[in-house]
């Protein structure tokens, strides 16, 4: 491991300034991705800036400017059961704590389920909300510095194209990179319309999680739109009644402790047998958590049936570009998406009947 200096600043401004001043500096949160990459030689920072004293671990209800129950009638009624006020999750909040939080479990079940489907109990006790969003791809060639990889080094070819693509993208990839974003949590956050709070040298900004990650195009080296030194300080979940009727479904090679081949985060509102409202995001299929807007458009106003759900999945996959490779390729993901999405929406439909 290359030597690096270590700093543990006391506040966010100092952390941003320290990393901003050194092009080779990185933030350290739980370390579950960074430490792995330091050992593999994938990350070779000159300095490591520990966020241990910097990022908030709090999970708090967002003041929506109303009386707390969000209906604006001033009675503050049924605050404990309301789905109307949002939630702010500090970037330092641990994956296990977010998943176990009563308000997350009740109001945003897809988020709790996505977190619980990721990694292991030990890792979730270390991994943070900010670090989870910014974890890098699990493409095996990216992690192996003896194989060429464009994401690691723009001057090198991509080894995956002709290689092992079981965990690679069928949507949104480019000829330069077809690696998937591995986070389960991020898929749920995108479906739930979450936003990230970012602090940079010039102040704060807010952006939708759906716009945090970028597609590779001709520069796969940058996974996100964040500039060097920008710090994620929090994730905000908007108040959303439909979020309480959400679920996360992960399909993988082992029953536990494995990354997604395909995953689905969905929220569904059904009225009189018709889809009134729907949110869908897919994981394991694209370089970023994939908001399935085509499927959503196809579903709004459609009958809440398996046929509609299958047709919506196929609409989303219209531009899919699976890889046929000597090592098996990933065409199988097309059927997996249709099956996983249909199954998730069917279950959400049945819950609303019972």
């Amino acid at each position: 491991m290359r030597p690096f200096t270590y700093a543990r600043p006391d506040d966010a401004e100092a952390a941003v300034a320290t990393v901003g001043a050194d092009p080779g500096a990185v933030f350290l949160a739980g370390g579950t991705n960074l430490l792995d990459h330091l050992k593999l030689g994938v990350a070779t920072p000159s300095s490591v800036v520990d966020l241990g004293r910097v990022t908030s671990t709090a999970i708090t209800e967002l003041d929506d400017g109303g009386d707390g129950d969000g209906d604006g009638d001033g009675d503050g009624a049924a605050r404990s059961s309301t789905t109307r006020s949002g939630l702010r999750i500090g970037a330092g909040a641990l994956n296990s704590d977010v998943a176990a939080h009563p308000l997350v479990r009740r109001r945003y079940p897809a988020l709790a389920q996505a977190l619980l489907a990721g990694a292991s109990g030990q890792l979730r006790n270390m991994a943070t909300t900010g670090g989870n969003l910014l974890q890098r791809t699990r493409c095996v060639y990216f992690a192996d510095t003896t194989t060429p990889c464009t994401k690691r080094d723009l001057t090198q070819p991509c080894s995956a194209r002709e290689g092992w693509t079981r965990y690679h993208a069928i949507l949104g990839a480019s000829e330069h990179c077809l690696a998937t974003h591995p986070s389960d949590m991020a898929v749920a956050l995108v479906a739930l319309d979450a936003t990230v709070q970012v602090l940079g040298a010039d102040g704060t900004r807010t952006l939708p999680v759906a716009e945090l990650h970028r597609l590779p195009g001709d520069d796969p080296t940058h996974d996100t739109v964040l500039r060097h030194g920008e710090l994620i300080t929090a994730v905000d979940l908007p108040a959303s009644p439909i979020a309480a009727r959400s679920a996360y479904r992960k399909v993988r090679d082992r029953a536990s402790y494995a990354f997604a081949l395909v995953s689905v985060a969905a929220a569904l509102g059904v009225r009189e047998g018709t889809v009134a409202d729907v949110r869908i995001a897919l994981g394991g299929v694209a370089p970023k958590p994939w908001r399935a807007t085509r499927a959503e458009d196809a579903l709004r106003g459609a009958p809440a049936t398996d046929e509609s759900y299958r047709a919506a999945a196929r609409a989303e996959l219209a531009d899919a570009d699976p890889v046929e490779s000597p090592l098996g390729g990933n065409r199988f993901k097309l059927d997996l998406v249709v099956g996983a999405l249909t199954d998730t929406l069917r279950r959400l439909t049945e819950e609303q009947h019972s």
Binding site: Y6, G31, M126
Partner: protein
């Protein structure tokens, strides 16, 4: 030349002051610097769970933790769960249920199981919990899921689940497996 950084660690109840290179993992600090070889180095990449210890009471992977980042932390290893050779109930259950063969993964399994019991006592759900807002009950499926971060090359899994189930059952009978509480 790298500069070292002074840190303090309390390991299994004993305080240690040491200077560490910032690259030193908690696992290497425990094994190489403090001579505590109960956490094992299986993969060194977060994939096997052999290095599991409790930091400030929660199970974590010491191989993916920088020692400098844990200055002033309270670390408990499997060794510390057996002060003066008096085995922890989880370790006793591993013996009773033959929950190991070579024993390499066992210290990590035992620390992880202690963490699982504590998490369940605080009402934490898992990926196989059907009702996220309901009570936490450690049945075999729950235990297998919660212990999935600990691999065992000898495949003692069935007996590991039995061992943890026995202790979970005792805990449940004492009423410490509580309903849906937040942690």
């Amino acid at each position: 030349m790298t500069t070292t950084i002074p840190i303090g660690l309390t390991v299994d109840g004993r305080h240690h002051d040491l200077d560490v290179d910032p690259r030193t993992t908690l696992l290497d600090a425990l094994r190489e610097r403090l001579g505590n070889t109960s956490p094992k180095k299986g993969c060194d990449h977060g994939q096997c769970g052999a290095c599991t210890v409790l930091v400030d009471g929660r199970r974590v992977l010491s191989c993916l933790t920088l020692a400098v980042a844990k200055d002033a932390a309270e670390v408990t290893t499997a060794d510390g769960l057996a002060p003066d050779g008096a085995l922890h109930p989880v370790a006793e259950a591993f013996l009773a249920h033959d929950a190991y063969q070579c024993g390499f993964c066992t210290p990590g399994q035992v620390c992880s199981a202690v963490g699982v019991l504590d998490e369940a006592a605080h009402g934490a759900p898992s990926a196989v919990t059907d009702d996220l807002t309901g009570p936490t009950v450690l049945d075999r499926a729950e235990i297998a899921e919660r212990m999935s971060g600990n691999l065992c090359r000898c495949a003692a899994y069935t007996n590991i689940v039995s061992a943890v189930a026995e202790v979970a059952g005792d805990a449940a009978r004492r009423g410490s497996t509580v309903e849906g509480a937040d942690r």
